[in-house]
Amino acid sequence: MLTLFADWFTYTLLRLPKGRLITEAIHFFVYDIPKIYLLLVVIVFVVAMLRTWIPAEKIKKLLTHRHQFVDNILAASLGILTPFCTCSAIPMFIGFVESGVPLGVTFSFLVASPMINEVAMVLLWGLFGARVALLYVGVGLLIAIVSGIIITRLHMEKYVEDYVYKIKVGAAPGDAPMTFKDRVVASWRYVGEIFRRVAPWVAVGVAIGAFIHGYAPENFLARYAGRDNPFAVLIAVLIGIPLYSNAEGVIPVVQALFAKGLPLGTTLAFMMAVTGLSMPEMIILRRVLKPRLLATFIGVVGVGILIVGYFFNWVL
């Protein structure tokens, strides 16, 4: 149906001749924007609905009395569902540690939460296809789970700032019971909030994509940062760490890099470095982690991202 609309808009309404570059660029633009907006509304709504059943305060209860690996997997998966702005990092961390969630499990959550979320998934899906979106989620989960397990093994509990263990967490406020209608209303409002924030970025990203799509892709980046350059992934990650952006903001950049010939593995590694390891988050985490644990965290996640980048460049 969207294809029909795009065909009608470009060929009939604007009377553009088929096959010309400008026509194809406009067609791509008219087709992609509604497609991504539609995906965005549907998926964000579904995730927001799910989320009404699991508020942040309940998550820590879910993560205590189980087998260690199961907890890591669960923590990483819950990280996807939970929107997590860096300002919530400290209360989340303290809340988890205080209620006895093991340190490694807490880290699985801290890694997955900013790196993978439903908005990033929708955007990757819309711009690169379902395969890339699923790869991103799968690989992100894997990094989060493995990093958590490694941090558990390293027994670094003493490198958490001492005051964290002394804080007394008050009883969580009781949730007012929600009716199904309340959940729908709240989720819908959340969709509106996200949509207003993300929609302009999508338009920018797609505009860049449409432009490059229509006007033959230059292989500028492929020449310098292609598969045969062994340092490309490393450099992409090192550039990505000090850059700070949420997934929405980085997508247009990622789209442009990929379209200019950056290999997929390098592109994904860059995106993960930007969203998963950001400078402001480090500064905030430093308030609860001693330097050694913070450095370990950066090291483990960074190496994970590097491996993913090289692996995808090699396999795909």
């Binding site: 508020p55 942040a56 305060e57 300002c87 919530s88 406020p173 905030i284």
Partner: protein
């Protein structure tokens, strides 16, 4: 009335504070608005998502930037 905004000074927390002040202005109500950034105090309320809104010692909303309209309702609801 004492209104506390729990947060770590992020933009969303400032957004909530601005909307609260707007709502108070619309209502023509006087209240003490305090920014709470001390972790010990924040954690004492048991909330984990920022920003959170506390009116007269009671947690009213968690992890959301209320619109001025919603803030108005929350303030009216709390004073009733």
């Amino acid at each position: 009335m004492r209104i506390e905004i729990l947060g770590s000074g992020c933009t969303r927390c400032h957004g909530l504070e601005a909307n609260i002040r707007k709502a108070l202005e619309i209502l023509g109500k006087d209240a003490e608005v305090v920014d709470v950034t001390d972790m010990q105090q924040i954690m004492a309320y048991g909330v984990m998502a920022m920003p959170a809104l506390v009116i007269d010692g009671k947690v009213v909303s968690v992890g959301r930037v209320l619109s001025p309209e919603e803030a108005k309702k929350a303030i009216v609801g709390a004073s009733a």
